[in-house]
Amino acid sequence: MEISKNAQGSSLEIAVKGRLDTTTAPLLEAELKRSIDKVTELYIDFAELEYLSSAGLRVLLAAQKVMNKQGKMVIRHVNETISEVFEITGFSEILTVE
């Protein structure tokens, strides 16, 4: 998995490439912990993400809870597999997916 970031003022975009699973989810979790402190708009770009498992959902849920308090979080460019994971687990109701 590769993570890239682009910060502009209090807006942050994080792009994730590869697979977000048990092995890699801790890396995204650590990156978010480091980066979202004063962020009011968080964009997570999954254009190059193949899929995510429940380990990835756990990280997204934690980030969503933080962003509910300090601004907004938007997930962009999810593929069919990721969209299905969000639907099955009810995360499509919790997350903002564009």
Binding site: D21, T22, Y51, S53, S54, A55, L57, V85, I88, T89
Partner: protein, 135 residues
Amino acid sequence: MKELTIDATVGNIESVTDFVNTQLEERGCSPKVLMQIDIAIDELFGNIASYAYNPEVGPATVRVELVEDPLSVVITFIDHGVPYDPLKKEDPNIKLSAEEREIGGLGIYMVKKTMDGISYEYKDGQNILKITKKI
């Protein structure tokens, strides 16, 4: 039928995924189904790695069988760790808000929803978890 026996560790999830994918790609499995199976491997082998022998490390066997009519894959995960039937776990409430959400149980729930069949038995001191998916 092919089998891989390997230490049940999080670090080995990728090796198991590669082992299974190689056989499915040979049979022309669609990328979508392949990803659903990869997610299932992450959930199921990941569970074994985290809980079966904790805090020790022990082996797990992953068996891949292809059956015809309709072409399906049967993947069996075998460990001899603590007896654990993941199918007994109650389905999570997926209607709760972010604040109320609990993450436990989501992985096995996803596997149940995306695979065509899942079964568990404890036999001869082994956890035997089997998933079936049309490819």
